[in-house]
Symmetry: C2
């Protein structure tokens, strides 16, 4: 008889616990059941990190750590141990990890240190030499499960690495853990029946976001300074928003996505998932993109789109479109304030020209986006096993869950994605034809305004209470169009961010309902406020360059 999900979960959690050395375990009184809603300080106060480890993990971004590693200031082992330890603590505080392979990582680190000495002082080191990189659970790492939090996939270790994992290893990175995500990988709450829910380290009553929520929490606690997620509607950017880190959704195909497990039916087309980084600095998004685009991605992944890194010169002047909202949902008071604050700083800068823009027809396109997400349909009530629609759904959602009798998580139920009708081939072509028109409209917006980027909110709200993140119009638009987009943290919810009158929500009843979610600063304490910077399709390098300029102005870096 197959194991139930409860048994599998218990076994998996026990394995996780075993992978954390005793010396790295928190005293029970400050473990995951702690009372504080914000655990950010515990890393500093728990006493498990020595001074050097605290400094390595606290005071440097990936670019700076690489500099230290390549200069021989720190050994790879030293850096790896520091991040493994910090990730172990983060795990105990937020439940952000899935697979833990600290032992393998430290062993690899030692080998890299030997190579370093053999190379006599840093010559010809690979671009990411010795850099610890964490991966969302859906990436395959040889020898470890890619369960994606589903009972039915537990105990099936990957036979080979995902394309990106293989590439990162070849680039010199040290992989040391994988991170949590939601059941189905399609919600804004990283919660599943095997690993449980990842908590937001800044406020455990707010969501850590999804689907790359484990990375979000891990990065916020600096248990990683470079994590990789995937994004088909906002799955990198939503957790970046919730946890206050940088998150970059590149154009599809630029970063190898081969061998990533998602629960779409094989061969599904339309809107595609893309892999990208979460980081603690904007320049680390650059570092990631540059390292990947300078490599022969095509050798790793037959679906690669070979747009190379061009070492573009920074533009002296930038024209930045500003969209205050998406015409579907009104941003909550802290989001409006954060955007205004950022745009005011940009407007004051002589090198930035602000161009107010409206985003055309987002509501219409979002409807089509949702249709793309549910091409095969998911309406199993009443189930009709003879229909092709049911066959797909059954196979790809309910059937997977049913194998170990696991229930549907609350946030997945809430999305409504499990009760939508599918479409036909003609319906799919109609979606494509409408999207082709949308692409022309947005090309015109960028071209005719001569825009280098658009600045807008990444969502109509900050992190929200658990299981209430219900819409991704602000992020999903760019997946629909396949435009690159970066989330930049600009502030936190402050006492001045009072909830205001519902009449400010001017786009109808759905908008009002969402707007009412913001109840004022108290409940949202610690929630980061972010902006989103969007570039043109395939102009990812130009986007990271422009975003770096904006970030330096807004965050005074």
């Amino acid at each position: 008889m197959p194991k139930t999900y409860q048994t599998l979960a218990a076994e998996k959690k026990a394995q996780q616990w075993d992978k954390i050395p005793k010396a790295w375990r928190l005293p029970t009184e400050i473990s995951i059941s702690h009372d504080a809603s914000n655990v950010m300080d515990i890393l500093r106060t728990c006493g498990l990190l020595n001074e050097t480890e605290a400094s390595i993990t606290s005071d440097y971004d990936a670019t700076a750590i690489l500099g230290q590693l390549k200069a021989g200031e720190w050994s790879v082992e030293q850096v790896t141990v520091a991040f493994c330890k910090r990730a172990a603590i983060a795990q105990q505080l937020t439940n952000c990890l899935t697979e833990i392979f600290f032992d393998d990582a430290i062993e690899r680190a030692k080998k890299l240190d030997l190579e370093y000495h053999a190379s006599s002082g840093g010559k010809a080191l690979p671009p990411l030499f010795g850099l610890p990189v964490s991966l969302k659970d859906s990436f395959q790492v040889r020898g470890y499960d890619t369960s994606t939090g589903l009972g039915c996939f537990v105990g099936e270790p990957a036979g080979e690495n995902s394309a990106l994992a293989a590439l990162l290893i070849d680039l010199g990175a040290v992989l040391y853990c994988k991170t949590n995500l939601p059941q189905s990988i399609m919600t804004g709450d990283s919660d599943n029946n095997i690993f449980g829910r990842t908590l937001n380290p800044r406020n455990k009553f707010l969501t850590a976001g999804g689907s790359t929520g484990g990375e979000g929490a891990l990065l916020a606690l600096r248990g990683s300074i470079l994590g990789v997620g995937t994004d088909i509607g906002g799955s990198i950017r939503v957790p970046a928003v919730c946890n206050g880190v940088y998150g970059f959704r590149p154009s599809v195909g630029l970063v190898p996505h081969g061998g990533v497990r998602d629960l779409n039916p094989p061969g599904t087309d339309g809107v595609l998932s893309t892999a990208g980084p979460l980081s603690t600095s904007l320049r680390d998004c650059s570092l990631f993109l540059k390292s990947i685009l300078q490599a022969d991605t095509w050798k790793y992944d037959s679906t690669s789109v070979s747009v190379p890194w061009l070492d573009l010169k920074p533009k002296p002047k930038l024209r930045i479109g500003v969209a205050l909202n998406d015409g579907v949902y009104t941003p909550s008071p802290p989001v409006r304030r954060g955007l205004k604050q950022a745009v005011d700083l940009l407007r004051d800068n002589n090198d930035i020209q602000i161009v107010p823009v409206n985003l055309p027809d987002v509501k219409l396109y979002y409807q089509d986006y949702v249709r793309y997400m549910t091409l095969s349909g998911s309406d199993v009530s009443p189930p009709d096993p003879s229909s092709a629609t049911f066959r797909l759904t059954e196979k790809h959602y309910y059937e997977l869950f049913a194998r170990t009798s696991e229930p549907v998580i609350p946030s997945l139920k809430a999305t409504g994605l499990l009760s939508l009708p599918g479409t036909t081939l003609q319906g799919f072509f109609d979606l494509n034809a409408r999207r082709a028109e949308a692409a022309k409209t947005y090309l015109k917006l960028f071209r005719d305004n001569d825009l280098d980027a658009i600045v807008m909110p990444p969502a109509p709200h900050t992190a929200v209470p658990l299981d209430t993140w219900s819409t991704i119009t602000y992020t999903g638009l760019w997946n629909y169009l396949d435009y690159p987009a970066i989330v930049i943290p600009v502030d936190r919810v402050r006492d001045i961010d009072s909830a205001d009158d519902l009449s400010n929500a001017k786009f109808g009843p759905d908008d009002e309902k969402l707007y009412s979610l913001y109840t004022g600063p108290e409940q949202y304490k610690g929630a980061p406020v972010c902006i989103q910077v969007v570039g043109y399709r395939h102009k990812d390098e130009a986007l990271v360059n422009a975003a770096a300029v904006l970030d330096s102005i807004i965050n005074k870096i």
Copy 2:
């Protein structure tokens, strides 16, 4: 009452005739009804071209002509008139043109000449300054029909230029005519009910190929030295083979394809058409690609894939895979001989390493390719107007033909494409999933053998008798995988190319049947023999570089 196709054809042919100045008309005894099977010499002997015009159009490729134009050796008007005149003669010999706009071209040429003088001697001239470029009829040129040879689209002049036409104009090119293609744009014979059939100038009993057959014939007669076609299964490469010119199918999206009329249902996905050049030299394929990739293609076409030109250094050594056949059809004796001759020359060169390769599973992939081509189905016997399948077919083939009561051309009937069942959304996903596996297999072939390119036949035969080109396995494979491929002419059918025993066709009855088409050198007199050079997806620049090296060795350029 709407006009019949006969009326529309008569009107259109009369318009065409009016567009050819009297002084450029051939004496009736050497007009299109001439007896000679090969009309290549008539251009030289007809006396319509003066010495300079003959030299401009005969002795230079596009790169050289550009050099002369930019150096001020020739005026744009002079070059334009020479090519207009030569195209007019080619039209009278082979029926290769559709829309003729010599007047506009000459007017534009005069303007460019003024600009040239204003720019004081050639500084900051656009990359294709003054170069005459011909376009397949399916490209829109403002003010002219894009009938694609269908009665129902006659008399509907385009309101705007196709993306590529607009880009070429911005790059300085002079557009002067559009060229013939088959009804449906889906056969190997450029024949339709409005313009009639384009003849092969080297042998009028053999096909001029399709679907870019008008360009093929025009280029062979040097009524153009740079023409642009489209290729979804071989439509650039087949006419290149038939007419003995260079033909390059780039990866999808690199050359803007927006605003090209094809008869696929809007939103069709799967295997996509791509735009590319036909030319009289390999370096002109390079010139074309470079000029396009250095431009901001994204500004012209929202479907562009922005792979930039990198000015790659030529590789000192090349590893070239050689596939003697595709495992489906056995090449005819002249094709085998031509390939062997070319490969022998390459093998003798110290900078080339030959790697024998087999192309895996082409038969299987070709079946899927055909399914991609008929996703919406075309089985209208018995017609069922209530089904979605019929709706599409009706709209996109038969219904278009029915509007002016035009019959189906013989080569379209012969393809069988009009009587295939369509598929479902699930069937489409299954095709995608199988293709993803195929892409991995072919990535492995390229990567594990460290190949720079594959050399193989472009077809199992040369140009064949009218309406008998029935298969495109050799070219379609690369559309299926979206790999760039170039056709290089290497020889002609010679007296030594005797037909041999059917037992040489070892891949089954279909192979035997096709193999029997070759009856010996007499019937195939003048037919060019070509090779195909295939590169990896998106590595188009590397491919044109490699092909240039191979071309220089094989054709001793």
